[in-house]
C-alpha cells in the first residue's frame, strides 16, 4: 500500500463518508493508447487547456508535451480564480466561440459543466485508468493540493508553532492566523469530521479573528513576510517563497485535508482527442513528474511523485469527486461562514 496507510482506510471506512479520492494505484495508460490519440489529435489545432497554474509554469509543461508528442502544441489559458474558469467555458459555448479542449480544476467547478452536458463521458477503464484515479466517468485526477499549517520561523519558535487544528484555537493566535477565503480545506475536513464538527471548528477559528486571503499564494508570502505569523495554506504555494529563502516552516496536521484537481474533456472542444491525451498523460508517471516539477503540485495517485512521498503514512481526508455534487450546499455554507467571520449570511 503505497500511499494510504491501513489506518487511513480504516478511518475513512469507519466514517462511511466518501474518501479515497487519492488513488492507491496509478494509471497504466499504454504508450500505444497515447500515441494513437496523438495521431488523432494532430491537424485539429492546438490543445486548448484551461487551468490555474502561472503561465511560466504552464509553459514548461507545454514544452515537455510538445517534445513527447511532436506536432502537438498546448495553448494554456490561466484562470487563477477557479470559479471563473467554468464561467468562461459556458460563455464561449453560448457564443459559439472556440473554447477549451480540456479543463483542469476542482470537482465543484467541473460539475457545473457536467450539469450542462459540456463534459465528455469516458470509459477510463478501457483506456487503462483505474477507478480510483477516475472515480466518475467525467473526470480523471490530475494533481493533489495539500493543506498544511504554516508558521513564520523568525516570529514563532519551534515549540510554540501550532502543529494541529486545535492549536490554532489558542488565544495567543488571536488576530494572527491567515486563512484562504475558499473553504476547500474545511470541506475536506468535513469528509472525516462531519458537517457539525467542522462548522463548530470554523466558528471557533472565526473567534480568533483570522485574516482571509483571496489566494493561498499571497497568504504564504504574508507568513514569510511576518504579516501573519500563522496560516493554513497549500503546500505547493508555500514552497514558492520557501525555495527563495523565506523563513516559513510547515507542518502536516492530523488529518491532512487534500483537494484533488481533476481534468475533464470538454464535449464541444475542437480537439477533444488532444484534450483526452493531455488528461491521460498528466496521470502517467512521466506527465505527473513534469507537472510537479513545473508547478510544485504533485499527483498523490502516481508513484514516485514528491507529494506521494510526503503524504505516505498520514491520515488524509477529502470527498471523492463523485460525492462533491452532494456537498455543494455545505461548501457554500462554509464559504459564507468564513467570509462573514462567523456570522451566518443569507
Amino acid at each position: 500500500m503505497s500511499l494510504i496507510s491501513r489506518r487511513n482506510l480504516l478511518i475513512a471506512g469507519a466514517v462511511s463518508i466518501a474518501f479515497a479520492a487519492i488513488a492507491p494505484a496509478q494509471a497504466q495508460v499504454s504508450a500505444a493508447t497515447l500515441d494513437g490519440l496523438a495521431a488523432q489529435a494532430k491537424g485539429k489545432g492546438p490543445v486548448i487547456w484551461y487551468e490555474s497554474s502561472p503561465a511560466d509554469d504552464a509553459a514548461k509543461i507545454a514544452a515537455a508535451f510538445a517534445k513527447r508528442f511532436p506536432g502537438l502544441q498546448i495553448q494554456h489559458v490561466r484562470d487563477a480564480g477557479g470559479a471563473g474558469i467554468a464561467g468562461r467555458v459556458i460563455q464561449e459555448v453560448q457564443g459559439n466561440a472556440r473554447t477549451a479542449d480540456i479543463l483542469t480544476g476542482s470537482a465543484s467547478v467541473i460539475w457545473q459543466l457536467v450539469n450542462r452536458n459540456l463534459v465528455d463521458k469516458q470509459d477510463w477503464k478501457a483506456l487503462g485508468v483505474p477507478g480510483s484515479v477516475a472515480v466518475s466517468p467525467f473526470t480523471i485526477a490530475s494533481t493533489t493540493a495539500v493543506y498544511v499549517i504554516l508558521t513564520n520561523r523568525q516570529q514563532v519558535s519551534d515549540a510554540d508553532a501550532p502543529k494541529n487544528w486545535n492549536d490554532l484555537l489558542n488565544p495567543k493566535w488571536s488576530g494572527k492566523v491567515g486563512l484562504w477565503i475558499r473553504a476547500e480545506p474545511q470541506l475536506s475536513l468535513a469528509a472525516l469530521w462531519g458537517e457539525q464538527k467542522t462548522t463548530e471548528f470554523i466558528n471557533a477559528v472565526n473567534q480568533q479573528k483570522p485574516f482571509v486571503f483571496k489566494s493561498t499564494f499571497p497568504l504564504a508570502q504574508q507568513v514569510g513576510a511576518g504579516e501573519i505569523p500563522v496560516g493554513v495554506g497549500l503546500y505547493h504555494a508555500a514552497m514558492v517563497p520557501i525555495r527563495r529563502g523565506a523563513p516559513i516552516r510547515f507542518s502536516f496536521p492530523d488529518p491532512v485535508p487534500t483537494t484533488t484537481l481533476h481534468s475533464a474533456v470538454i464535449s464541444v472542444g475542437k480537439n477533444r482527442e488532444g484534450g483526452l491525451l493531455l488528461a491521460l498523460w498528466l496521470a502517467t508517471p512521466e506527465g505527473a513528474k513534469i507537472y510537479e516539477d513545473a508547478t510544485g503540485r504533485g499527483h498523490a495517485g502516481v508513484q514516485g511523485t514528491e507529494v506521494q512521498k510526503l503524504l505516505a503514512g498520514r491520515t488524509l481526508t477529502e470527498f471523492s469527486a463523485d460525492k462533491v455534487p452532494d456537498n455543494l450546499e455545505m461548501f457554500e455554507r462554509f464559504n459564507k461562514l468564513i467570509a462573514a467571520g462567523g456570522q451566518e449570511v443569507k
Binding site: 511560466d56 489559458v77 487563477a80 483571496k214 511576518g226
Partner: protein
C-alpha cells in the same frame, strides 16, 4: 471680463438644425453600441436564474439574495463611508496641489506637476501592497519606526481598516483630481481676481465669491467622478479590506465572481448589485447636471487675451515647499521606494539592515529575459495608445456636441458617455465578452488585444467627457462665433479654435487613459484569452503565483517607463508653450 452669460451664446438643449442632428447621430449610435448593449446584457443577467444572460428563464430572486441579505445594509454603509472619505480627502489634496502648482510661485512646481501624477502609473494593487508594508500594525516600516522612536506599546496605524483604505484610496485618486482641476486653474483669468481685489474684497471673499464659483463646474465634475470611482473601485479595498473582512460593494462583486462557492460566477447577483451601482450613478449624474447647469456663467477663456498670473506665496513660500515635499516623500516616494525594495528581494520582507544582505537583481534580470514580457509590453503599449487616442478624440467631439452644439438628445448623449463609470470592470468584461462572442462573425476580436481597446474606450470615455466638459464650459463661445462669422464651418471651428483651446485637457485625458490602460487589471483579466496578455495580467500572474517580488519588479519597470514618458511629454509641452509664447 467674460463671466457674464450671453443668452444667445449657447443654444438650449433640443434646438438646432439638421446639420447639428447629423453631426450628433454617429456619436450617439457609437455610444449606444459601446454602452447600451453591455448594459442590456447586465440587465438580462440580473433576471436569469443562472445569471448567464443568454440562458433561458426569468427570476427576481437575484435581487432578493442581494438586497435582502443580512449584511447588505452594513455593506452599503461601509461603501458610503469609504467612497465619501476617499473623495473628500482626494479633493482636498488634489485641489491644494493643483492650485499650488498652477497658480502660485511654488518653487519646483514643474517637477511637482510631473511627480503628482506619477503614482497613477503604479497598479493600485501594488500601491496597496506598498502601503501594507509601510503601515501594517505588525511589520509596517512606519509603525515600527514610530514604536521604536517613541516607545509606543501598540502600532499607531492600521492600514487594514476603513480609515487605512480611505487613506490609500485617496492618495491613489489625487492624480486624477489634479488632472481634473489643474486645467481649470490654468484657464482662469486672473483679471477676475484682480477686479475683485480692486473692488475692496478680502482674500477670503475673493476666494468665496470669485474663485470657488469659477471653479465650481470642475470641482463638481471632479467630485462626482471621484465619488463614483470610489464606489466601484476594487483593487485597494480588495487588498486591504478583504483580509480583515471589511467588504464594500466592489469586493462583494469580486467575491461573487471569483470565489463563488457554487463553482461558477454568480453573475445574476453580480448584475443585481450592478443595478445598484447604476442607481447611484443616476443620483450622482442628476447632481452633476444640477451643479453644472449654470456653468456657462463661469466661462473664463474668451477672445480677450490673458496670461495666467502666479500668486505670490510670500513668506509662506518655503514652508509650503517643505510641506509639499514632505507630502511627496510620504505619499509618493515611500510606497514607490518600498516597491523598489521588494523588487530587489528574493521574497517579500520588510526593509531593515538584516535584509540588506538579501538584495538581488535576479527579479530584474529574469524580467528582462522573459520572452512573454516583450509580448506583454508590446500589447500593453498598443492597447494603451489606441484606447487613449480614441478616448481623447471621442471625448473632445462628445463634449463639443454636448456643450456647444446641443442638438436634440444632447443630454442623453452626455448621460450615455457618463454611464460606463458605474459598470464594475468585472461586469463590463463579462458583458463585452458576450457582445463579441455574439458578433464574432462580424468583429472577430474575442481573445485579441482589440477587445481590450473596445472595453477600455467604453470604460474611460466617462472620465474623458467629464474632463472635457468641465473645460469646455469655461471657454466662451465668442471665439467660435467670430470664426463662424468669418465663414468657418463647424468642423473647422472645432479643429482651429475649440481643439487648441482645450488642448491641455485633451492631453490630460490622453495621459490619464494611457496610464490607466497600462495598469488596468480587472477588465483585462475577464477578457484575457490566448493572444492578449498585457503587463497587468503578467503582474497578476506573479502576484497570484506567490511571487510579489516579481510583481513589484513589473511595477517598477512600468513606473520607470511612465516616468520617462511623462518627462518627455513635459519637455515637449514646455517647448511647445515656449514657441507659442
Amino acid at each position: 471680463m467674460s463671466a457674464a452669460p450671453r443668452a444667445a451664446a449657447v443654444l438650449p438643449y433640443g434646438s438646432g438644425g439638421l446639420a447639428r442632428r447629423l453631426a450628433a447621430a454617429p456619436v450617439a449610435l457609437l455610444l449606444v453600441y459601446l454602452v447600451v448593449v453591455p448594459l442590456v446584457l447586465l440587465g438580462m443577467s440580473s433576471v436569469r436564474p443562472t445569471g448567464f444572460p443568454l440562458e433561458p428563464g426569468f427570476t427576481v430572486a437575484n435581487f432578493g439574495k442581494v438586497f435582502l441579505a443580512d449584511n447588505f445594509p452594513r455593506l452599503v454603509w461601509t461603501t458610503i463611508v469609504f467612497a465619501l472619505g476617499s473623495t473628500v480627502l482626494a479633493m482636498v489634496l488634489g485641489t491644494a496641489m493643483a492650485w499650488l502648482v498652477e497658480r502660485t510661485d511654488l518653487p519646483g512646481r514643474n517637477l511637482f506637476r510631473v511627480l503628482v501624477i506619477l503614482p497613477m502609473a503604479a497598479p493600485p494593487v501594488l500601491l496597496a501592497i506598498g502601503w501594507a508594508m509601510l503601515l501594517s500594525p505588525r511589520t509596517g516600516f512606519f509603525n515600527l519606526l514610530l514604536r521604536d522612536l517613541f516607545g509606543l506599546q501598540t502600532a499607531p496605524f492600521n492600514v487594514y481598516s476603513v480609515p487605512g483604505m480611505i487613506f490609500v484610496e485617496a492618495l491613489a485618486l489625487v492624480p486624477t483630481a489634479f488632472l481634473f482641476l489643474a486645467p481649470a486653474f490654468r484657464n482662469m483669468d486672473p483679471n477676475l481676481e484682480d477686479a475683485a481685489m480692486a473692488s475692496g474684497a478680502s482674500t477670503w471673499m475673493m476666494i468665496r465669491r470669485v474663485l470657488l464659483p469659477l471653479l465650481w463646474p470642475a470641482l463638481a465634475a471632479c467630485a462626482a467622478f471621484l465619488l463614483i470611482v470610489s464606489f466601484v473601485v476594487f483593487d485597494i479595498p480588495g487588498t486591504l479590506g478583504m483580509p480583515a473582512r471589511i467588504y464594500v460593494l466592489s469586493t462583494q462583486i469580486f467575491y461573487l465572481t471569483a470565489d463563488s462557492p457554487t463553482g461558477v460566477p454568480l453573475y445574476g447577483q453580480v448584475s443585481a448589485l450592478g443595478t445598484f451601482f447604476l442607481l447611484i450613478l443616476v443620483v450622482l449624474g442628476y447632481a452633476y447636471h444640477r451643479f453644472t447647469r449654470e456653468s456657462q456663467r463661469y466661462r473664463t477663456i474668451s477672445g480677450k487675451g490673458f496670461r495666467p498670473r502666479l500668486a505670490s506665496l510670500g513668506r509662506w513660500r518655503w514652508p509650503t515647499t517643505a510641506a509639499v515635499s514632505v507630502y511627496f516623500l510620504l505619499a509618493v516616494f515611500a510606497p514607490l521606494a518600498i516597491l523598489v525594495w521588494a523588487s530587489l528581494m528574493p521574497y517579500q520582507t520588510r526593509p531593515n539592515a538584516a535584509s540588506l544582505s538579501l538584495i538581488t537583481f535576479e527579479n530584474h534580470l529574469d524580467f528582462l529575459r522573459n520572452a512573454r514580457l516583450i509580448t506583454a509590453t508590446i500589447h500593453s503599449l498598443t492597447v494603451a495608445f489606441f484606447a487613449s487616442t480614441i478616448v481623447a478624440l471621442l471625448s473632445l467631439i462628445i463634449s463639443w456636441i454636448v456643450v456647444r452644439q446641443r442638438p436634440p438628445g444632447a443630454r442623453a448623449i452626455d448621460n450615455l458617455a457618463f454611464a460606463p463609470i458605474a459598470i464594475p470592470g468585472v461586469m463590463l468584461g463579462v458583458a463585452v465578452v458576450y457582445v463579441y462572442l455574439t458578433l464574432d462573425f462580424v468583429f472577430p476580436i474575442y481573445g485579441t488585444i482589440w477587445i481590450l481597446v473596445v472595453a477600455y474606450v467604453t470604460h474611460y470615455i466617462s472620465f474623458g467627457t467629464r474632463l472635457a466638459n468641465g473645460v469646455m464650459v469655461q471657454i466662451h463661445p465668442e471665439l467660435e462665433e467670430a470664426a463662424r462669422t468669418s465663414g468657418a464651418g463647424s468642423l473647422r471651428v472645432l479643429a482651429r479654435i475649440t481643439a487648441p483651446l482645450v488642448w491641455p485637457a485633451v492631453a490630460a485625458i490622453w495621459i490619464w487613459v494611457f496610464a490607466h490602460a497600462m495598469r488596468e487589471l480587472s477588465t483585462a483579466l475577464m477578457l484575457s484569452g490566448r493572444n492578449n496578455i498585457v503587463l497587468p495580467t503578467l503582474l497578476w500572474d506573479y502576484w497570484t503565483g506567490g511571487e510579489p517580488t516579481r510583481a513589484a519588479t513589473v511595477g517598477v519597470w512600468l513606473l520607470a517607463a511612465l516616468a520617462v514618458f511623462l518627462a518627455l511629454w513635459h519637455v515637449l509641452n514646455n517647448r511647445s508653450a515656449a514657441r507659442r509664447a
